[in-house]
């Protein structure tokens, strides 16, 4: 079977973000960008499905400006076979991304689409669920374990839910979104990075896919959250308990 894996280029998780003074968004100039951590986990899972002999081909997909190609290269260096880059400079929201994925699914005919559970920039946690609905496929969100049946008819997914874990059995084809504990993504080695340069990346546009990406949600402005006022360092446990009781009133 074929596995489609979505990868998003986002501001690196360790970078400190700056809100633009005009409130139009977050400054992305001269900031380190990387693959969304949840997407790395999705790539790792897809590649390990291939290594187990369950998947024949892993196709990495990214959508966005020219630079998103670097993110696809990273996925190829981790072991994906080829890439698809939907090139656009327009703002993409989960609904548009899912609609474009649907169009790619119809062309590529995968049995599993693996996505991260959320991107660490918009924190939406929506794309996988929307895609599953659009395809009328089953969904296994927040997966911490994925076991594909030998007959490739079903996949058993353990999900991280609020009060523990839940296991569901999904009919394939399915959309699965990854939680942090699903696996430990591998580092791409230098030889694999070199090999990845020779792997093919197809370029398409939203228009090629017949998808209108006009956002249904308009960002009016972005601001920094109110800063917490600086606290005090207390010298002893006595002082701490006294402050909590008499100053903060929480004891």
């Amino acid at each position: 079977m074929r596995v489609l894996v979505g990868v998003k280029r986002v501001i690196d998780y360790a970078a400190k973000i700056r809100v633009k003074p005009d409130g139009s968004g977050v400054d992305k100039a001269n900031v380190k960008m990387s693959m969304n951590p949840f997407c790395e986990i999705a790539v790792e899972e897809a590649v390990s499905l291939k290594e187990k002999g369950l998947a024949k081909e892993v196709v990495a997909v990214s959508m966005g400006p020219q630079a998103s190609q670097d993110t696809i290269r990273t996925a190829l260096a981790m072991g994906a076979d080829r890439g698809i880059h939907v090139v656009t400079d327009k703002e993409l929201q989960p609904l548009a991304v899912a609609n474009m994925f649907k169009s790619l699914v119809e062309k590529e005919d995968p049995k599993i689409v693996l996505l991260g559970k959320q991107a660490i920039d918009d924190d939406c946690n929506q794309t996988g669920q929307i895609l599953a609905a659009k395809l009328n496929w089953s969904q296994g969100t927040f997966a911490s374990s994925v076991v594909v049946g030998d007959d490739q008819e079903k996949v058993v997914v353990t999900r991280e839910v609020d009060d523990g874990l839940e296991t569901v059995s999904l009919k394939l084809p399915a959309v699965i979104t990854t939680d942090l504990r699903l696996n430990e993504p591998r580092y791409a080695t230098l030889p694999n990075i070199m090999k990845a340069k020779k792997k093919k990346i197809d370029k398409v546009t939203p228009e090629d896919l017949g998808v209108d990406v006009t956002p249904q949600i308009e960002v009016l402005h972005v601001k920094e959250p109110e800063a917490r006022s600086g606290g005090v360092v207390v010298e002893s446990v006595d002082e701490l308990v006294d402050k909590l009781k008499n100053e903060a009133g929480v004891l």
Binding site: I17, Q129, D163, Q216, L244
Partner: protein, 357 residues
């Protein structure tokens, strides 16, 4: 201002070229469909309470509620509680044998939305709501708005982005209902008004048939058993990080939490090191909490962790490293070894009347 002008232009353009979306926008009734998950106790949990508070205080009336419940797990009691809330006109109970699968439940809600035609559909930002709401929105072909922390007006919402390091004000300009999930910590502290007595219904035959989707099957669950209050609803949260070193040492936090009637949380480092289960994790990828008192013990304060607790009323940090970032947001910081500080703290609290359990 320009955003608004652009928005109006787009609307005019859209109405000229797409008559259906215009009709939708004009005929859509005002009213909010709330989806609450039955936790088993028959009471509103944090996510359910936030959902109902948001609908009652900020969204169009009347309110219709769907209570998703497991057979025999207190769904009727929860439905009665919801039916007693002011503004609620109707409560529908959707029962399931196993867990709540998004595939059948979103289909059921899609059918109910078609009949009731609400302007808003709201549910909590729990794993239940996050799994469900985007799927339902997709069936309605509209973009969901997740993790809302403030309702500015019926179409305008504030939601945190970048792990809570920025707040984005967004306006829904689509034509369907607004499908949204709300953060328990942002709405849960307001009071619910009770004075109604709405009728309670079971699902109709059409919707019952949809409950039997064959796309997915619930197999089982492994719940984390605890007698402490739920992490996302607790008044006090005691959290531990890597510095706790072992699962054994985590018991010290449990004892302190029990003394204060609080819940125990953890940083990702503590979870990954196997000191405690995943569902105790506080942060961008775990739970978001906003208790009155958050005590971070041996937690450095990485940005992902802060995303889950920085709206707490009072934050206390206990850490050996005086340079740890957690001290920048803590109201009270104590630089010291947790293994000497904790027993002392426990003893002092006992002297104040907080008994050890």
């Amino acid at each position: 201002m320009f955003g608004i002008v652009r928005h109006l232009n787009r609307r005019n353009h859209a109405s000229a070229s797409n008559a259906r979306s215009l009709t939708d926008a004009w005929t859509r009734a005002l009213g909010t469909l709330c989806v609450v998950e039955g936790s088993g106790a028959g009471e509103l949990d944090a996510a359910a309470k936030a959902t109902m508070v948001c609908a009652q205080k900020h969204l169009p009336k009347p309110i219709w509620a769907v209570v998703a419940s497991r057979s025999g797990a207190g769904g009727e009691d929860l439905a009665k509680s919801v039916a007693g809330l002011e503004g609620v006109e109707k409560v529908v109970v959707a029962e399931t044998e196993g867990g709540f699968l998004a595939e059948p439940l979103s289909a059921v809600l899609h059918s109910l939305v078609g009949k009731q035609d609400p302007s808003h559909v709201v549910t909590g930002s729990s794993t239940f709501g996050k799994n469900l709401a985007p799927r339902l929105a997709a069936l309605l072909d509209c973009a969901p708005v997740t993790d809302v922390t403030e309702v500015v007006d019926e179409k305008t919402f504030v939601r945190p982005i970048y792990a809570g390091n920025a707040l984005s004000t967004v306006k829904f300009v689509g034509s369907g209902p607004v499908v949204m999930t709300v953060r328990a910590t942002a709405f849960g502290s307001e009071k619910l008004e009770s004075s109604g007595e709405a009728e309670i219904e079971q699902l109709g035959e059409e919707e019952k048939a949809l409950m039997g989707s064959n796309l997915s099957e619930w197999v089982g669950e492994e719940k984390t058993e605890s007698e402490r209050p739920l992490l996302d609803a607790a008044r006090v949260v005691i959290s531990g990080g890597r510095a706790l070193k072992s699962e054994e040492n985590f018991k010290m936090l449990e004892e302190l939490a029990d003394q204060l009637g609080g819940a125990v949380g953890a940083s990702r480092a503590a979870v990954d090191a196997g000191m405690c289960p995943n569902d105790m994790q506080v942060g961008q990828t775990g739970k978001v909490v906003a208790p009155e008192l958050y005590v971070a013990i041996g937690i450095s304060g990485a940005v992902q962790h802060l995303a889950g607790m920085k709206d707490s009323k009072t934050i206390v940090a206990i850490n050996k490293d005086a340079e740890a970032p957690i001290f920048k947001i803590a109201d009270y910081g104590l630089v010291g070894d947790l293994f000497t500080v904790l027993p002392e703290l426990s003893a002092k609290l006992e002297a104040l009347g907080y008994e050890k359990k």
